[in-house]
Amino acid sequence: MLETFAQASALLLALDPSVAGIAALSLRVSLAATAIGCAVGIPAGAFLAIARFPGRGGAIVALNALMGLPAVVVGLVIYLALSRSGPLGHLGLLFTPAAMVVAQAVLVTPLVAALTRQIVEDAEGELGEQLRSLGLPAWRRVRALLLDVRFSLAVAVLAAFGRAIAEVGAVLVVGGNIAGHTRTMTTAISLETQKGDLPLALALGMVLLALVLVVNAAAAVLRAHALRRHG
């Protein structure tokens, strides 16, 4: 065990290019998926927070349930859609990083939307009456509420990034774990563990944990600074 740790540390210290490449791809795919998830999920969640329509309660339950989407099932559905005989087969995206971004975006969008819905709904309880009194149409009220909760939304963004970068099932199915092309940290860890190359698997695991820690720490520092400044 100690020997494995020592070898993993040596790999990291040597800045093994294969480790760096895999980490960079993981980061790129997860950040892209998180960006898409936020672009779709934040407005959708915010509108669900202030909209009143028949079946809204059911929509919220469904959205919350989608947070628990099984990654492998999402991977399978996207695989079918992107496979040569599938409806989107002509795009030629299967076994590319783009397919992995799509799969992760599908996974994280409900998470962002559900957390945004809850955060904005809480703010709406506090500010909604005032904003309605100002005669603001729905989209301007949403914008004002999002402005108010922007620092709290960092939690939703971090949760999405966390789910994306830690995800293995969907990216394995649609990416194929092709070395140098679609191999991410999680798929590599899985493969190297099966192959018995535990030092490399552990080195990748340490990089993965460090990345998540750095991103969360940076977000916490920025949030604290912003809260000090904006109250």
Partner: protein, 242 residues
């Protein structure tokens, strides 16, 4: 406000309870009208109904002699200041966003409103970092920026210290003097006496009494008004004769 405000048979139900139970009221076009009464009497609900924030179950709110005129421009200042986590200027700008003004004009309206409440120098400060009194002045700046014909105030000084309260009362008087009709919900009868010309006493969702402040305070005609004022003004002796 160019037109009188007429409320007839106004009923508002919430949670299976009649909060307003047939309010009939006619208010003058100018000055400050205070609305007083015990907790749960329906004061805040009446203001919310006038602002369109709650839908009446029955009854009518009308403006003008025939009650069919366009609703006046309104502003509402709540007891709990609802400020967005942004700068003071951005909060005031929300008040004019709905009008779709050109940016320069909107900015001028915001600057003018902030000057009126004495917060020009704090425009870029975080609104939620201000003191309670200053936050309420931001709320008044927001109201001022809307150039309201009807200003609805729901206990605007309830949680303020005497100095901040005096400042807010000065702003209410300034808006009144600028021609804005003010409806003021308050439990502070000293404040009512200082600011209002007439007072409406609400009890159990109905108008128990409506008249000039000095008349209602000295010689309340209704039992509900007498009971409320006795509790609120224990040092004042009333003429019990009708």
């Amino acid at each position: 406000m160019a037109l009188p405000l007429r409320i007839s048979g106004l009923v508002v139900e919430a949670g299976g309870r009649r909060v307003l139970d047939g309010v009939d009221l006619e208010l003058a076009t100018r000055g400050v009208t205070a609305i007083i009464g015990p907790n749960g009497a329906g004061k805040s609900t009446l203001l919310r109904a006038l602002d369109g924030l709650v839908a009446p179950t029955a009854g009518r709110i009308g403006f003008g002699d025939d009650g069919a005129a366009t609703a006046p421009r309104r502003a509402f200042v709540f007891q709990k200041t609802a400020l967005v986590r942004a700068s003071v200027a951005r909060n005031v700008a929300l008040a004019v966003e709905a009008e779709g003004l050109p940016a320069a004009e909107a900015r001028a309206r915001v600057d003018h409103a902030l000057a009126r409440v004495g917060l020009s120098g704090r425009a870029r400060d975080a609104a939620r970092r201000l003191s309670g009194g200053e936050q309420q002045r931001v709320a008044f700046a927001r109201a001022w920026a809307r150039a309201p014909e009807l200003l609805l105030l729901d206990e605007p000084t309830a949680s303020l210290d005497p100095a901040a309260m005096e400042e807010i009362e000065r702003l209410v008087a300034a808006l009144r003097d600028a021609g804005t009709k003010v409806l003021l919900v308050s439990h502070n009868l000293g404040q009512v006496a200082r600011l209002a010309e007439d007072v409406v006493v609400l009890a159990a969702g109905r108008v128990a009494e409506h008249g000039p402040v000095d008349v209602v305070f000295r010689r309340p005609a209704s039992e509900a008004a007498r009971a409320y004022l006795k509790g609120e003004l224990p040092w004042q002796s009333f003429d019990a004769s009708p």
